[in-house]
Symmetry: C2
């Protein structure tokens, strides 16, 4: 295994394949080519100065007679933790706030409307240690913790919807911890939150030591720029999980993650992309980069000696579209911002062609009595004009 120094699949293919072959390889691997997005020069300059990668692509849809294009620019942020894991908690959080602030500045210059950070972005991914302190000190209130307040400011300043995945401390309910994403409207208001539905118990991912499966179902958030959902990390392995967000109306599903080379790299290009295809929606897969070293050694249940690191997070964040196309991935080892312009009209257009969910969409009316939870999940600030009524939850959330 080449390890984290190997930059990216795309860079390797670009370097070695003759143009005609490269075109064909890309067509088979990535589908219809995504147009490169023209981004302002000063954005590239700022990214270069800030030492992070910037890439931009556009997914296009056919012109329609009765609907204008519904273009939205999403921003996916991947980054390493700037300070070592044994630095004081408050300093680590502040350093991450500063790092993200700089990247969001560039995203704003690129016209990003909705930005999503990586899973548990305010902390090192310390769940491998099974230690409590200091790691649980990174937990914050989703509603009014310092990170949420920080994101509210960003949202208002840049007119951008912010998806902020954090370790949540629910003070109202026994100080429980959750793996949560807070969704903040471009107005600055907290639209709501969603919790990770599937908790790994694999290798160094000892997360159920800290928090359990989410209890908020599969909420979808109506924003000014489209209906979004957040399928946190391990949820990407579960087709039913993606399906439920989609049935509840999501047009874009973010998948903020933290996953490592040895465990999942060959699954990474497959799962979020399959979800975009199967559900006729856009999916945004985000993974952190870098290696994180912890003060005390731990074992991984794999017969190997105790160690202090997790392996490397391989980045490679990408956006997949309902027509099976996808962007190249960001680097495997550098901080980065991926800007993708999506025409959300593509979702219905592909749905009208393939119609993979047709009979599921009919289901709620046919399934009365079998529906175990009829909560209709769509958080929003204002009454919706063109909003479709939400489908009922077909399968109760503990199963999905």
């Amino acid at each position: 295994m080449a390890g984290p120094e190997w930059e990216s699949l795309e860079q390797c293919l670009e370097k070695h394949l003759p143009p005609a072959d490269l075109r064909e390889v890309k067509r088979i691997l990535y589908g219809k080519e995504t147009r490169k997005l023209e981004l302002p020069g000063r954005a590239f300059e700022a990214a270069s100065k800030g030492d992070f990668e910037l890439q931009g692509y556009a997914f296009e849809a056919a012109e329609e007679q009765l609907r204008a294009p519904r273009t939205v620019r999403v921003g996916l942020v991947q980054n390493r933790t700037p300070l070592p894991a044994d630095a004081p908690v408050a300093k680590q959080v502040t350093a991450l706030h500063r790092r993200i602030e700089a990247i969001v500045e560039v995203a704003a210059v690129c016209g990003v409307n909705v930005i999503c950070f990586q899973e548990a972005w305010t902390m090192p991914f310390a769940f491998c240690t099974r230690e409590r302190l200091p790691w649980t000190e990174f937990a914050e209130s989703a509603e009014d913790g310092p990170t949420t307040r920080f994101c509210q400011k960003l949202a208002k300043k840049h007119d951008v919807v912010v998806v902020s995945p954090i370790l949540e401390r629910d003070r109202e309910h026994g100080d429980a911890l959750w793996n949560t994403a807070v969704v903040i409207s471009n107005s600055g208001a907290v639209l709501g939150k969603t919790r990770k539905n599937h908790i790994p118990r694999v290798g160094d991912f000892n997360e159920s030591t800290y928090y359990m499966e989410g209890n908020l179902g599969h909420p979808v958030f109506q924003t000014q720029f489209g209906r979004i959902a957040v399928n946190i990390c391990y949820g990407r392995h579960h087709p039913l999980n993606w399906l439920m967000y989609s049935i509840n109306g999501a047009e874009i599903i973010f998948n903020p993650s933290a996953t490592i080379g040895a465990l999942s790299e060959c699954l990474w290009p497959v799962e979020a992309r399959n979800a975009a295809i199967a559900n006729h929606c856009f999916t945004c897969a985000i993974n952190r980069v870098g290696e994180e070293l912890f003060p005390n050694e731990f074992t991984s249940g794999d017969g190997k000696k105790a160690h202090r690191d997790f392996g490397y997070f391989y980045g490679s964040s990408y956006v997949a579209a309902p027509d099976g196309s996808r962007t190249p991935g960001l680097s495997r080892n550098r901080d980065g911002l991926l800007v993708a312009e999506l025409d959300l009209n593509l979702c219905r257009q592909v749905n009208d062609i393939w119609n993979f969910k047709e009979r599921l969409q009919e289901a709620p009316s046919r399934a009365e009595g079998r529906v175990s939870s009829s909560r209709s999940w769509c958080a929003r600030e204002e009454p919706l004009g063109q909003m479709m009524p939400r489908q009922q939850t077909l399968i109760n959330s503990p199963l999905v």
Copy 2:
């Protein structure tokens, strides 16, 4: 688009990438490397003489203390129709029988235990025409039609389980047509049949003009070599469909298909592979090759002029494993036989590590009253020793 003359993704990468880069590209694209299977020289000679490709790979599992390896060799056959579509029906069928007979001979030399042919293998894929005659004349009884009898002979002669996807004529029920796979035991007995659950209404795939969604649920067949299911063609786009075969106990799910370059080539490497990952089982994706020219022109609902061909079927058949690894694909344009040795112990081993379906497996006992069909589907000849009881069907089949 390069078209059908472009041999394969793998061949292109092998040709142009330096060894170290090739290894890394393969690791990211295909996961853990599959070992090349040593097949007899005379098999390669016969394949070369018969002008079809032969490739062999092995998927390995860890050694266990209480279970011996459960290795099974599967054979995937992709082929073009040897005679033009306007040749007499009986001659076309006979030519296909001869072609397949020759390939199965080689499969037997390679020690194949379970072989699967492509969708509707005894005919050109004529559903684009929307004409009845002569195409409906290709339909046969699943239980005792000439093709089933032919396969029974092959099965007995070579001690091989045969999965034979045909256009079925159900004489017992109003002469209805179905898109069916007949499963024939290595003893020569018909184990049962399964019907395509999702019928495309896309482009030239006008199949509901001929037959509708299957009414047999998601049967799993216990064979001497493991529990198998058949998810025919369009069913691969539906994660719930794969899931139901898996929940009903399938360890290997075959996906005999007929699909073309312009429509689905970038989805092909994603969907069956995602199903293997999500369901901790092996999946075998099979697509035909070649171009088929029909006597009368037809339109495709895409604004283009009437034409007489379908585009090219791009082959690229492959096997995917529960650990996310996969074999290279067969050629995009040649007839071929892919032999894969699977250690079925890998399914439970990966399940024990990742456990993606854990809570679904608990579901039947928790879901009593919500289960709409409790038919337990597993066709078999003899009482089972180590067979687990089948799970109930969680979701009624019309929805899935």
